[in-house]
């Protein structure tokens, strides 16, 4: 709207200055300039023999390997196995994290019983439990799923509990004055008030879920993206290893987008979300 010259009052009013260079709608494309350049360099380095293709497959080989894995249905199969582990693990984490979070958040008794215990357990890095889990659950699916569930349950519990306790007491008071019952206060004030925090926890939980999956799938798996990677290592197939890594990255990204989408819908009232429109 305002001209190209940036007058001082315009700046003082906080009008964002126009960036120089690429026009605005190319702003998103601009972010990919450096990654694409890096890929090109990588490819060139491999073709010129600067980097051994045995140790690091070039992007072209990775793409070819990916295509092969897709065409043969192998990738789809292993992906489905991995996704299933995450889905089951996350579901368990959600049920456990949400019910314990509600129990501790909504009642003092619940807090005394649950919170202190969980805070102690939280001090333990959950990946350190792998040897015990293997002893208890064996090296099959149960261990992998338990690992995902353990990793994801804590962030869900912690943020939900914190979110519930962080609800503005002035709003709780207003609810009481305007005649809400305890159930009404929980439903109309406490739960929606805790939701932003809880969604941060969900995003974090998804992150740890992938991490647990990576670790879990390196334990004697016979299927899954992790198995694909470990198997490829035996045959020095760095192209397949890199395909596996890319899949992990894409899954992580997809999960993040999913939570963002939920946030946009569920937290439409927040000014930061309003501003994005």
């Amino acid at each position: 709207m305002s001209g190209q010259s940036l007058s001082v009052p315009a700046l003082a009013r906080g009008t964002p200055p126009r960036r120089l260079g690429l026009p605005r709608n190319l702003g998103a494309a601009r972010r990919f300039v450096v990654p694409v350049l890096l890929l090109l360099l990588w490819q060139l380095a491999a073709q010129s023999g600067l980097v051994s293709t045995r140790l690091l497959a070039p992007p072209s080989a990775i793409a070819a390997a990916a295509w092969q894995l897709i065409a043969s249905g192998e990738l789809g199969y292993h992906l489905a196995v991995s996704l299933q582990r995450v889905a089951i693990g996350l579901s368990i984490a959600l049920v456990a994290g949400v019910s314990l979070g509600l129990l501790a958040g909504l009642s003092r008794l619940g807090e005394d019983l649950v919170d202190a215990t969980l805070q102690m357990l939280r001090a333990l890095p959950f990946l350190a439990l792998v040897p015990l889990l293997i002893l208890w659950l064996g090296i099959g699916e149960a261990t992998k799923i338990a690992l995902v569930a353990l990793g994801a349950a804590f962030p869900i519990y912690l943020t939900l509990f914190g979110g519930i306790r962080g609800v503005d007491p002035k709003l709780l008071e207003a609810g009481r004055v305007f005649g809400l019952s305890r159930a009404g206060v929980i439903r109309h004030i406490i739960l929606p008030g805790a939701l932003p925090q809880a969604l941060v926890g969900l995003r974090y939980a998804l992150g740890t879920a992938w991490l647990s999956l990576v670790v879990g799938e390196q334990i004697n798996a016979t299927a899954g993206i992790g198995y694909l990677v470990m198997d490829a290592r035996e045959f020095l197939r760095t192209d397949i290893i890199l395909v596996g890594l890319a899949i992990y990255a894409l899954l992580g990204l997809g999960a993040d987008q999913l939570v963002r989408m939920i946030e946009r819908k569920a937290l439409a009232w927040r000014p930061s979300v309003l501003g994005e429109r």
Binding site: A174, V177, F178, G179, H188, I189, P192, L195, W269
Partner: protein, 247 residues
């Protein structure tokens, strides 16, 4: 004289245990139905403490209080639920069918001239609009006693003037008994039938304001009352602390 909606007798409130000095000390207060009462007092004199008890937020431990069943509060901050659109905030906690409460909420919003913002998110409202929603949320309950805790304190001077006349109009239309806590002597004299001053835990002034409505600040009688109230509050006309100067 109409029946009182509110009766406090020897009401005492202490924080920090029964031996602590009281913030409110054996207060007696009766407010008849439909009367507009303003409560003045220095910062920390216990105005909010009194109002919280009348709202039912704090228990009565010493003395007795009889309160009407239908009470409503407008707080100093709007205290709207940011995750509910404006009209749902107004309808919050109303008993009855959804369609009916929605109609009532919309009617209340119309009274505060905010129909066009009924579906907006509270965080997009201006300070004055948010306070008007707070007012609508109180009005929709058809209170017998309306408690206002410095509802205009955070607003700019012009918005405050508009809000004051809005409150005056709404009171004349619905006739709840009102207890308005304020720091502003002129605001009290513009709106109230009766002005109370709270100091050291006691009501040290109970002044009937018999000026014709609508009131004019320029009127001589208005000024006389203003000077008198300022003196009770310990402030002289130029805003200096009279007690401090005397010392």
């Amino acid at each position: 004289m109409p029946d009182p909606v509110l009766r406090l007798s020897r009401f005492t409130r202490r924080f920090h245990g029964p031996a602590a000095p009281p913030v409110l000390d054996r207060l007696d207060l009766t407010i008849p139905a439909g009367e507009f009462v303003a409560l003045l007092g220095r910062s920390g004199s216990g105005k909010t403490t009194l109002l919280r008890t009348l709202a039912g937020l704090d228990p009565v431990t010493e003395g007795t209080a009889s309160l009407p069943a239908r009470r409503a509060v407008v707080f100093q901050e709007p205290r709207l639920l940011p995750w509910k659109p404006v009209w749902r905030n107004v309808a919050l906690g109303l008993p009855g069918e959804a369609a009916v409460t929605r109609q009532r909420a919309l009617a209340a919003l119309q009274e505060v001239e905010l129909s066009h913002r009924a579906t907006a998110w509270p965080l997009t409202l201006s300070g004055g609009e948010a306070q008007r929603v707070g007012l609508a949320r109180a009005l929709v309950r058809e209170p017998e006693l309306l408690l206002l805790d410095e509802p205009f304190a955070a607003l700019d001077a012009l918005t405050r003037l508009r809000m004051q006349s809005l409150v005056g109009e709404l009171w004349q239309r619905h006739r709840p008994a009102v207890l308005l806590v304020t720091h502003d002597v002129e605001e009290a004299l513009l709106l109230a039938d009766r002005v109370l001053v709270l100091a050291a835990g006691r009501l040290v002034e109970d002044l009937a304001v018999d000026l014709p409505r609508p009131r004019r600040r320029a009127a001589a009688a208005f000024d006389t009352l203003r000077v008198r109230l300022l003196a009770t509050l310990g402030v002289d006309e130029n805003g200096h602390d009279a007690t401090a100067r005397a010392a």
